[in-house]
Assembly symmetry: C2
């Protein structure tokens, strides 16, 4: 996990100004992947006691736009962010508790799959989400109710 100078370097390399909120948000995303915005606001405030939620939203947008973080948003979940970018990996999502786990892409380069018929589209990414039930949810409730993904609150 990169330390503060590394993070600053990342920001500068992307042509962004280095500010305390940006470093803190970027650090939080590196520290814990797949957090939603609300959790990231909390994690950012733990690093830097006062930041507005708006600042976090802005920073996340900027970081996403310049490719320093990736935004993912499985159905039924608010936006989540992760720092693994550029390696085209995919995700496993638990239908019961909402847990997200990374999976490496089997193929390697983006887009790792190509559709049978591209309908004339210029495709640049294939996003894959594997839906299922994580080990602990499988154990606790062998056959759970079908519901849209709800994260354990």
């Amino acid at each position: 996990m990169p330390d503060a100078p590394d993070l600053e370097r990342l920001l500068r390399a992307a042509g962004l100004r280095v500010t305390r909120p940006r470093v803190a948000v970027l650090d939080a995303v590196h520290a814990q992947p797949h957090l939603d915005t609300e959790a990231l606001i909390g994690a950012t405030r733990a690093r830097l006691d006062a930041v507005s939620h708006q600042a976090v939203y802005d920073v996340l947008r900027v970081l996403t736009d310049c490719g320093l973080v990736r935004r993912i948003q499985p159905q039924g979940s608010p936006a989540r962010y992760e720092a693994r970018v550029g390696d085209n990996h995919h995700h496993l999502v638990c239908r019961d508790c909402g847990t997200i786990v990374d999976v490496d892409c089997t193929i390697g380069t983006a887009p790792c799959l190509t559709p049978s018929d591209d309908a004339g589209f210029a495709i640049d990414e294939a996003e894959v989400v594997f839906w299922g039930r994580c080990p602990s949810c499988t154990d606790s409730r062998p056959s759970a109710p079908r519901s849209t993904a709800q994260r354990g609150k």
Copy 2:
């Protein structure tokens, strides 16, 4: 495309009461795939002049729960619905205008892919979204701004 008696049969087969709103919503979803909720409310009202938005939300939830329609929700877009269910097909989404196109699954049976490492998950579905630019957007703006998917309003 199924006609009214077919739709009623579908509802009954799923163990649901047949009501005018349900038939109308189901018909609308069959008629035009990939509409969002707001558009579906409009389409439903065209068939049946007064329906509350809440009824449409409820009906869509029920239809989704019993598998008569499928709910999809690409990043940055509100929920959309389609009547093709059970064939495990995937989607192509235009980053510029938000257009969604169906693509048949190359493999055939769900889950059509398996991750390199399933982390102990019991996986039942692999959802694939191909991101790119549709033919008309490619023509009009050879290199467009990167932005979260916005549908042309």
